[in-house]
Each structure stands twice: as structure tokens, then as C-alpha cells.
């Protein structure tokens, strides 16, 4: 393969990975914007969805049913965690909330370990067939599934947030919780909804990626972190930009891995995270000392 073909290939696979990270990143943004929590356990939704789908298939359910059921279960798990672990302590400091999500991460990971053990599992690709050539890159059919399903999910999310009253009220909670209360929005239930959406998105990421790589009980943390990189680059604020950032991040990671060394994959990814954080820190210095100016208004 010529260099340009290689690069095209890296970019293609970077986009695929970035799409997965984007699903996780979106979930993180939803949770953070509505409930002000950094969810360290976000990746566990993906792991759970993936492993559950595998088991359902193994139990004899047809593939589409398994996939949908797994995603739905992950969504319910998300909502359940909010009600069980987050809502009761919603007035705690951000530090405590963070530690609670770490606890949730540990507990979920442990449960996954108990139920599925340390073995890697795999799911067959959604459709079988030869890979497809697009421009200079060769994509497996599963990769196309990842892109198209995610695209559909993003469109659905977009419509939800911009066209439905429920979606708008969720945004309103993130923008101004006090005003949201004043118009009658039950902010706590919106928190549960945000977590449910995040769970579903995580589960979706899990079932999409499993045919491409293997699913294990501990796959969650790294995935979640990579989603976080994209989300934090754009300030955990904007859904569309989070998607763009995650995809770019996927491309950077893929190019770095391909052109430098695959052993350094995670180092490149998180080295990029550190660079981004430092860059944001320096940018903040120039803008002003208090970042949230609205808070300081008379």
C-alpha cells in the first residue's frame, strides 16, 4: 500500500473509532450538563451492552432483538444508577459525586467480572460480506454499520433535542435549572432521563464495536476516557462539537498509532488529552479569572 493509501486507511479507521468515542462523549455531556456529574462509569454502559448482547445471542435470540434489548437494558441501567446512586446525594460537592461515580465504576466492573469472567467475547458482524472500498480506504461492513447506526442515532438525538418539548426541557435544565423549575420542569426526573440517554448511547457503542474488537469486562474505562477527551476539549457543553472533537480525536489517535507505533496507542491518545487540557488552561488564563461570568453578574 502506498503511503497515501495507508493514511486514508488510518483516517477511515480513526473515523470509525471516533464515532464510538462520540457516542460515549455525548452521554458524558448529557449527564454533566444536567446533573453536573463527571461520570467515570460511562464506559461500563458500553461494556454491559456488549456483554449482554453476546449472552442474548448465545441464548438463542436473533441478532436484532439481542442488540435492541442490550441497548435498552443499558439505558435502564443508566437511569437506575441515577436514581439509586446520584439522586440521593445530589447536593453533595462535585468531589463526592465524582468519587461516587468511581464507586459505581468499580461496582459495575466487578459485577461484569462476576457474571462474565475475564474472557473476551465476540459478536458476529451484523452482516457478512466482503469489505467495501470507499475512496482509497477499505472498510469492513461492520464499520459501515457503526457509521450508519451512529448517524441515525445522532439524527434522532438532534430531533429529540430540537423538536420535542421533552428534549428542550432537558436542555433547559442544563442551561438554567432554577428557571426550569419555575416553568414546572421536574429537574430531578430530567436528571434520570439524561442518565438513561447516556446509558443507551453507551450500550449502543458497546454493541457496535464488539464485532470489530473483543468485549471484555474491563473495556469500559479506556473507552469512556476517550469519549471524555472529545467532550472536554469543547468544554462539556456542545453536543455537535463533541461529536466533531471525538471523531478528530479518533483520527489523531489512528494516525499516531499507524504512523508511529501501535504500542503507543493509548499513550498517544492520552498524551493528546493532557495537551488539550494544558491548552485549555492557558486559553482560560487569557479570558479571565472567573470562567463563568454569568455567575458574577450583579
Amino acid at each position: 500500500m502506498s503511503l497515501s493509501q495507508q493514511i486514508a486507511q488510518f483516517i477511515a479507521s480513526g473515523i470509525i473509532n471516533g464515532t464510538i468515542y462520540a457516542l460515549l462523549g455525548l452521554g458524558l455531556v448529557a449527564i454533566h450538563s444536567v446533573t453536573r456529574v463527571v461520570n467515570v462509569a460511562q464506559g461500563e454502559f458500553a461494556a454491559f451492552g456488549a456483554l449482554l448482547a453476546v449472552s442474548l445471542m448465545a441464548a438463542g435470540l436473533p441478532l436484532p432483538v439481542s442488540l435492541v434489548a442490550a441497548v435498552a437494558a443499558a439505558a435502564l441501567l443508566g437511569g437506575g444508577i441515577h436514581r439509586a446512586a446520584i439522586r440521593p446525594v445530589r447536593n453533595a460537592t462535585p468531589l463526592v459525586l465524582l468519587i461516587i461515580t468511581i464507586a459505581v465504576h468499580l461496582a459495575l466492573k466487578g459485577v461484569l467480572l462476576l457474571l462474565w469472567g475475564t474472557d473476551p467475547y465476540t459478536l458476529r458482524p451484523f452482516t457478512v460480506g466482503p469489505p467495501i472500498r470507499i475512496l482509497s480506504a477499505v472498510l469492513t461492513r461492520q464499520s459501515l454499520w457503526v457509521i450508519s447506526v451512529t448517524a441515525v442515532a445522532l439524527i434522532v438525538l438532534y430531533l429529540f433535542f430540537t423538536k420535542t418539548i421533552r428534549g428542550k426541557s432537558l436542555r433547559a435544565c442544563a442551561v438554567n435549572p432554577t428557571a426550569a423549575r419555575l416553568v414546572g420542569i421536574r429537574v430531578e426526573w430530567m436528571g434520570t432521563l439524561a442518565w438513561t440517554i447516556a446509558g443507551g448511547l453507551g450500550g449502543l457503542a458497546g454493541v457496535l464495536i464488539t464485532p470489530l474488537t473483543l468485549a471484555t469486562y474491563d473495556m469500559g474505562l479506556i473507552l469512556g476516557l476517550k469519549g471524555f477527551v472529545g467532550a472536554v476539549v469543547v468544554g462539556m457543553a456542545s453536543y455537535p462539537w463533541t461529536v466533531v472533537a471525538c471523531i478528530l480525536f479518533g483520527i489523531v489517535e489512528s494516525l499516531g498509532t499507524g504512523l508511529i507505533s501501535s504500542n503507543y496507542r493509548d499513550a498517544i491518545a492520552f498524551g493528546a488529552l493532557i495537551v488539550v487540557l494544558l491548552w485549555r488552561a492557558i486559553a482560560t488564563l487569557r479570558v479571565g479569572w472567573i470562567v463563568s461570568e454569568e455567575v458574577a453578574q450583579e
Binding site: I99, Y264, A267, V291
Partner: protein, 594 residues
């Protein structure tokens, strides 16, 4: 007194343990508890006191380990030197990463440190020539001092636990020092701390470096104890374990660090040996992950202070503040300044929030030695103007000049350093501090003890003198009898007074008072006026914002009236009060009512 007894008892137990340990239980588990305690002490100082959670301590542990291993093994340096390099190397890297990141808030450090952990892990595994890759390095020489080689479990046990005790001592000194107070102030109210001259990012970064130093030390000791090193103990999962240990023991308590580490390590051993037997499987007992997760959640929710906090309550170890008599020193006398010279100049100041121009084209001068008041109806932009002058907000355009120095874009702590002090609309006292300690925070900038000095307890004398000075400031506002009260328990008027006293302790040239009379009774207002006059007598220039027009009229030399973010009148109180535009601004225009 009881605390000392328990400590003594603990030390006795430490000393005799090796003699008691035989047979099944190896001394090594105690050694590891000691090693991990070192790391967790650093984490407790960072997370509990500086309020910064790090999920990267395992990385610093690993960095320290490998630095010492490589320098002693490959470069042949003496182990003691290797250890020192490990400590400084870990601290340096932490400072490099931490310093800029702390300008962000909250969760960025958590993820930055987690990212660092992963990067370090990958690098260690892959730079095989240097680190030996996944298989690691063997044949690392044990510690030695001159000709004496330190080898064997017992030696390392005593060495490491001595170091733990030293670390506890250093940590305790730090907490009770000027630095510890600054950290607690930052945790309580970063804005208030900044306006007292404290740079939060600076302190947080140094605490990260300190915690990394402790972790690096543990890493270096580890490799010389074991004689070999491999990447697996330094993975990010261990960083999470360390955080669990800290939280379990009590994230705000140093003894909790040791307690939490001991409990978790023992628990892990128990789970590893018992669980397979109980559940009848041969699988590795990583069920500990679930247990740890649940335990963490339970502790955080039910016993947020951690096991130590609970234990201390049960054993009644609360010592309480020692109320040794503090004799007040009278505050410094009148400072002589050039009366009439311009102290503060504000030029065409603007501040825009989205579609709203909160302050527009504000220009005025405050002369040395005068009492200058800004009045105007609610929403006129007064507090915004204050925030701009004190550096808490950045102006959209315009200039602010103090004496002849442009301070427009300076940080609040730098502006405080130039002699500007302020109070806030809602008093930002440090609620969990004593009244005396609050005022001592005002003296913070004038004291000299740094991190190292504080750790070795060298700031005691300076602190004692500072306490006397602080008492002097309290006496001046009539609050000396409440010096040991908890600031948060004071009535509102007293909190205002405390905040004022604290601001005066910074010996400012310019004092900004943000609605000092709001919430005060009539008597309190009278006393406030009297106090402000005294402050002016002592040479401090006062710039205040107020709603109580009659209070201002009797007090100020000159008055500026704001409305809709711009000035509509300026002059002596009498002149301004009669100005129809001013009356219209407050009561509303006749025209509008038609």
C-alpha cells in the same frame, strides 16, 4: 492528651510487630501497608486539604520507582542518590503538568492525572531499552548508606514505617501552618482567598508536586526493597485503589490515610484467600473490585468523614482548638501618604455580558485619603464595577490604573498584592475557621514561611506573632472576645465586621467595600460609619458601594451616581442629593409614570 497516648500506643505496636509476626503471615504485608501509606498520605494532603483529586498517584509511584531503579542499576549511582532523584523527578513532572491545569476547575485534574497514568504506563512498557519493558528490571541493589547495606524484611519494615511517621509529622506541620490555612481558605472560597493575595493554582500545583514526591519516595523504596521492578503495580487501577484507601480512611485526616490503607490492604488479602474457598471457584478473587466499589459508595454516603472520623468520635479524640492566651499587638499606626494624589483611576470601563452592557464608559478618580462612594439603584452596575477593579472580572474594554500602574488585566491576587483589599456583598468569611484565623488570612501575604519551612514546623514563631497581630485587629473592631468562635456561627453583622477586619489586616492602601451596610441594623450602621471614619484616619483610602443613601451622605467626601451602568452625577453629597437626575434615578421618572 488522649491523642498522644494513642499515638504512643501505635508506635509501640509498630515496634513490636516484627517480633510477633511469624509463620503464616509474612512481614511483607506490613511493609506494603507502610509503602502505600506513604503514597496515600500525599494523596490525602492533596485531595483532603487542597481539595484536588488525583487519579495518577500510581504514575508518580512508578516514575519514582523507575528513576531510582534505572539510575542505580544502569548508571551505578548510589541508591540514596537514586532515591533523591526519584523524589525530585516525580515532583518535577507533577509540577509541570499540574501548574497549568490548575487554572481550570474541578474535574480536569482528575482526568488529566488519569491520562498521565496511562501515558506513563504505556511508555514504561514500550521504552524497553531503558525500562526493560513488560518484564522489567532485576538486580536492583538494595539501599545502602556508605558501606552498610540495608537488607531484609525487618530493616525495610522499620525504615519505611519510620518514614511514614516522618511523613505524618511533616503533613501535620503543613496543615497547621500558614500554607495549610491557605489551602483550607482556597477550599472554602477561592474568590476570597484570591482577593487576599493567594494564588490558588500555585498552591494546588505545589501540593500536587508534594504528593508526587511522597509517591516517588514510596516507589524508590519499593524497588530497593524488592530488588526488581515491572510495570504492573503502576497501572491506573492502582491509582483508583489509592483513592479508595484515602476515602475509606477519611480523606481529610492524615491518620485516616494509614488506617484506610491498612484496612483495604488487609481486606484485599482476606478476599484473595477466603473468596475462592467460599465460592468454590479457582478464579482469581477480583471480586474485591465489587466489594471495594460498594464499600467506597457506602463510606462516602454514610460516613463521609471516613473510618478515622468515626473512630475518633468513638474514642473521643477530638482535641479542640488549644486556647492559649493570645496577647494582642496593636496594629501599625497611621501610614503617611500623599493626600490628594490620585490613587485609583478608572477610564472608560466597559463590561458586556452577552447582549447586556452592564458597565458602560465608566470613568472616575479616587484620591488618596478620601472616602469615595458609588451609589445608584439596583442593577446599575456597581458590584460589576467592583469586580472589575479587584480583578475578579475582566473588562471588555477600558483601563484601571492604581497609582501609576495599569492593573486592568491583572489577576485578583496580584491586585491584592499591590495594596487593594475588598469585602463582598455577602461576607465571604471562612466559615469553618475561627474568627482569629480568618483575620490571620489577611496577614497571609506578609508572612514568609514557605512549603518546606512549614513542613518542618519552622513557621511557629512567625505564626504566633501573626496571631497577636490578628488579635490586635480584632480588638480594634471590638471582636477580640470572639476570637476563638467559629466564623460561620457568628451573627450576620459580626461576619461583616470580621470580613472588614480581615481586609484591614492586609494593610491595604485602597479598601473596596461592597455594600457594607446591607443587612445591618440602625445601631450597627452607626458603628460602621464610625469605623470607616477611623479607617480613613489610619491612612487607608476607602471606595464604597452602597444603597443606603443617607449613610453615604453623612460619610463620603465625594459621591458618584450610577444608573444603567454609566455615571449620571458626581460631586459632594449635598450636591448630588439635590440633583433631580439622581432623584429620578431612584424614584423613577415622572415622564415614565404617565
Amino acid at each position: 492528651m488522649t491523642q498522644r497516648l494513642w499515638l504512643l500506643g501505635f508506635i509501640v505496636v509498630l515496634i513490636i510487630t516484627p517480633a510477633l509476626v511469624t509463620g503464616r503471615v509474612s512481614l511483607s504485608i506490613f511493609i506494603f501497608v507502610g509503602l502505600f501509606s506513604l503514597i496515600v498520605i500525599g494523596l490525602t494532603l492533596l485531595a483532603g486539604h487542597a481539595g484536588q483529586v488525583s487519579l495518577g498517584q500510581a504514575a508518580f509511584y512508578g516514575i519514582g520507582a523507575y528513576i531510582s531503579a534505572i539510575t542505580t542499576l544502569r548508571l551505578g549511582l548510589p541508591p540514596v542518590l537514586g532515591v533523591m532523584l526519584a523524589v525530585t523527578g516525580a515532583a518535577f513532572i507533577a509540577y509541570l503538568i499540574g501548574a497549568p491545569i490548575f487554572f481550570l476547575r474541578g474535574h480536569f485534574l482528575v482526568l488529566g492525572t488519569l491520562g498521565l497514568n496511562i501515558v506513563v504506563d504505556v511508555v514504561i512498557r514500550n521504552v524497553q531499552g531503558l525500562t526493560g519493558g513488560p518484564t522489567g528490571l532485576t538486580g536492583i541493589p538494595p539501599l545502602s548508606v556508605g558501606r552498610t547495606i540495608i537488607a531484609g524484611d525487618r530493616a525495610y519494615y522499620y525504615l519505611i514505617w519510620t518514614l511514614v511517621l516522618v511523613a505524618l509529622w511533616l503533613g501535620r506541620n503543613l496543615i497547621h501552618s500558614r500554607i495549610g490555612r491557605a489551602l483550607a481558605a482556597i477550599r472554602a472560597s477561592e474568590v476570597a482567598a484570591a482577593t487576599l493575595g493567594i494564588n490558588p493554582a500555585f498552591y494546588k500545583a505545589r501540593m500536587l508536586a508534594l504528593s508526587a514526591a511522597f509517591a516517588g519516595l514510596a516507589g524508590a523504596l519499593y524497588v530497593h526493597y524488592l530488588g526488581f521492578v515491572s510495570p504492573s503495580p503502576f497501572a491506573f487501577n492502582f491509582s483508583i485503589d489509592l483513592l479508595v484507601m484515602s476515602v475509606l480512611g477519611g480523606i481529610a485526616y492524615l491518620p485516616g490515610a494509614v488506617l484506610g490503607t491498612a484496612v483495604l490492604t488487609v481486606l484485599r488479602e482476606v478476599l484473595r484467600t477466603i473468596m475462592p474457598r467460599l465460592l468454590g471457584t479457582g478464579a482469581s478473587a477480583e471480586y474485591e473490585i465489587v466489594v471495594f466499589g460498594l464499600l467506597l459508595a457506602l463510606v462516602v454516603v454514610l460516613a463521609p468523614g471516613g473510618i478515622w472520623h468515626w473512630l475518633a468520635a468513638v474514642l473521643r479524640l477530638d482535641a479542640g482548638e488549644s486556647l492559649s492566651a493570645v496577647s494582642p499587638l496593636p496594629p501599625p499606626g497611621r501610614r503617611v501618604g500623599e493626600s490628594g494624589a490620585t490613587l485609583l483611576r478608572v477610564e472608560k470601563l466597559q463590561k458586556r455580558f452577552g447582549g447586556i452592557l452592564a458597565v458602560r464608559g465608566l470613568s472616575f478618580e479616587v484620591k488618596q485619603g478620601e472616602i469615595y462612594a458609588i451609589i445608584g439603584p439596583n442593577g446599575a452596575g456597581k458590584t460589576t464595577a467592583f469586580n472589575l477593579i479587584s480583578g475578579v472580572l475582566r473588562p471588555t474594554s477600558g483601563e484601571i490604573v492604581l497609582r501609576d500602574r495599569i492593573i486592568t488585566h491583572l489577576h485578583p491576587y496580584d491586585i491584592a498584592g499591590l495594596g487593594v483589599a475588598r469585602t463582598f456583598q455577602t461576607p465571604q468569611v471562612f466559615s469553618d475557621f475561627t474568627v482569629l484565623n480568618n483575620v490571620m488570612m489577611g496577614l497571609h501575604r506578609s508572612l514568609r514561611t514557605g512549603f518546606l519551612g512549614a513542613m518542618f514546623g519552622l513557621g511557629r514563631r512567625e505564626d504566633a506573632r501573626a496571631a497577636s497581630e490578628a488579635a490586635g485587629y480584632l480588638e480594634r473592631v471590638g471582636m477580640l472576645d470572639r476570637a476563638m468562635d467559629r466564623a460561620g456561627a457568628l451573627p450576620f453583622g459580626a461576619q461583616r465586621l470580621l470580613e472588614l477586619s480581615r481586609a484591614l489586616a492586609t494593610q491595604p492602601a485602597l479598601l473596596l467595600l461592597d455594600e457594607p451596610a446591607s443587612g445591618l441594623s440602625t445601631t450597627e450602621r452607626r458603628e460602621l460609619v464610625h469605623l470607616i471614619r477611623q479607617i480613613r484616619e489610619s491612612g487607608v483610602t476607602v471606595l464604597l458601594v452602597e444603597h443606603d443613601v443617607s449613610l453615604v451622605m453623612g460619610l463620603a467626601d465625594r459621591v458618584l451616581v450610577l444608573n444603567y451602568g454609566e455615571q449620571i452625577a458626581e460631586g459632594t453629597p449635598a450636591l448630588v442629593r439635590a440633583d433631580p437626575r439622581v432623584i429620578g434615578a431612584y424614584l423613577g421618572d415622572d415622564e415614565v409614570a404617565s
